[in-house]
Amino acid sequence: MPDEKIEKKPGVCIPWEEKIKEYEKITGDAELIKKVWEDIDGLAYIYIWFVLIAA
């Protein structure tokens, strides 16, 4: 059965829910990994949309 498509909300390029599936297991602080992933992913989002809106 194909994976359910995860919607990309504003501010997101690759949703964390999609990324976490790529890890076999998380041995440490999952919230920390999620936060940093989302922070940097958000910068990429801003770049893509900045080129569209203002550059």
Binding site: P10, I46, I53, A54, A55
Partner: protein, 395 residues
């Protein structure tokens, strides 16, 4: 920050904010959107300020020290061609490369279906996943280096992202410098465009979008709705976190003669209106920078909540605008750019007086030209606009 500069900054900020909320401050705020004009004033070429963002920032600071203005944009030359050359995008003719060094950059809009950066049969891809479409289809298509192999293509992406980060950091430094060195307020923060203008300017081209209005109207409506949350997010993600200065919506094709009422009602206005209302609910005013003549759209603009926008007049009749919506919104602009280029200082002073007498008596007005002030404006005329307003525009 020196005590006198802090005092000056606070006075200017108070003046600017009071007017934006449609109040009557101590004097009429002066907030000129000086773009390539600062290059002329500071002794740089258009190429220098367009290609080197640090020179643009420097030129603005030189202007702000010498002109008694309340607020300016950190850099009003909105395209940094150093970045667009690095990420190799196709949209611009660049001074010093494609144009004379003393010409302002030019925007190259898609002209036909072949040149469109989003094809007619790609609406569903955009609607289904806007970010995915932009990253997978649109950006590779508009980056010249995409066709030069992985090395060039990957580097173009990398350089663009890093350049953007540096540029954003530069704006922060610039804002502090303007505050500390000349007590000048940074006038705006956060960029917004109407979803329909995004389709016209960057994706389909105005001509193709006009055809889409008839050939695939449901797709256009759906595309605007799909873009709406992203436009809103990008506006507030880059906005002033203190919500003191407004987000700006740069309005392009919604006015006559580009769009009929029917098209405006169906395609352009609904999502733009909702975005502005949502941003105001979140605490941000929006500078409604209506390029061209938007007088025929006033009945729609009047639907917006009181004080939600600062209405900027370009080619419209500011006196009519004041009559219809001046009770609801602060107005700015109205000084014709061609007057600043071709008129005399007496002409400029007379026009400023006419506007001040006509629309600014009860407050809620900010002095500025109708459009961004470029390298063709005479220095003495811009000075006359600023100095006359300082002298005459006292409440």
């Amino acid at each position: 920050m020196a005590e006198d500069m802090e005092k000056l900054y606070n006075e200017r900020l108070e003046r600017y904010v009071t007017a934006m909320k449609n109040g009557k401050p101590d004097k009429i705020p002066v907030r000129p959107f000086v773009a390539e004009f600062v290059a002329k004033y500071a002794g740089f070429t258009c190429q220098e300020v367009t290609h080197d963002a640090n020179k643009a920032f420097e030129a603005v600071r030189i202007f702000a020290k010498d002109f008694d203005v309340d607020a300016v944009v950190g850099n009003m030359i909105y395209v940094w061609t150093g970045m667009t050359e690095a990420n190799s995008t196709k949209y611009y003719k660049v001074p010093g490369i494609d144009l004379d060094p003393d010409e302002a950059f030019q925007y190259i809009e898609p002209q036909d279906e072949e040149g469109a950066h989003m094809k007619a049969d790609e609406y569903d891809q955009l609607i289904d996943d806007p970010t995915g479409f932009l990253a997978s289809v649109w950006l590779p298509r508009i980056m010249k280096d995409s066709s030069k192999g992985d090395y060039r293509s990957n580097l173009a992406w990398l350089k663009g992202g890093i350049a953007m980060m540096n540029y954003f950091t530069g704006f922060g430094v610039q804002g502090a410098a303007l505050k500390n060195e000349s007590g000048t307020v940074s006038a705006i923060a956060g960029a917004l465009k109407a979803p329909c203008d995004i389709l016209a300017d960057k994706l389909r081209g105005y001509r193709q979008l006009s055809a889409d209005f008839f050939r695939r109207p449901d797709k256009v409506v759906a595309a605007c709705k799909a873009l709406m949350p992203h436009m809103k997010y990008n506006a507030y993600a880059t906005a002033d976190p203190t919500k003191t200065v407004p987000i700006t919506v740069w309005l392009h094709r919604g006015c006559a003669p580009f769009m009929s009422y029917q098209a405006y009602e169906k395609f352009y206005w609904p999502t733009l209106k909702q975005i502005i209302i949502d941003l105001y609910d979140m605490g941000w005013q929006v500078l409604f920078y209506a390029e061209g003549d938007w007088d025929k759209n006033l009945k729609y603009t009047a639907e917006l909540p009181e004080k939600s926008i600062i209405y900027h007049v370009d080619r419209g009749d500011i006196f009519e605008v004041h009559k219809q919506v001046g009770h609801k919104f602060c107005l700015s602009g109205g000084i014709p750019n061609d007057l600043l280029t071709y008129g005399t200082t007496d002409d400029v002073r007379a026009f400023c007086k006419k506007i001040i007498d006509g629309v600014a008596k009860d407050g809620g007005y900010i002095m500025d030209a109708g459009a961004i002030i470029q390298q063709d404006a005479k220095i003495e005329n811009v000075k006359a606009m600023v100095d006359f307003t300082r002298e005459y525009g006292v409440y």
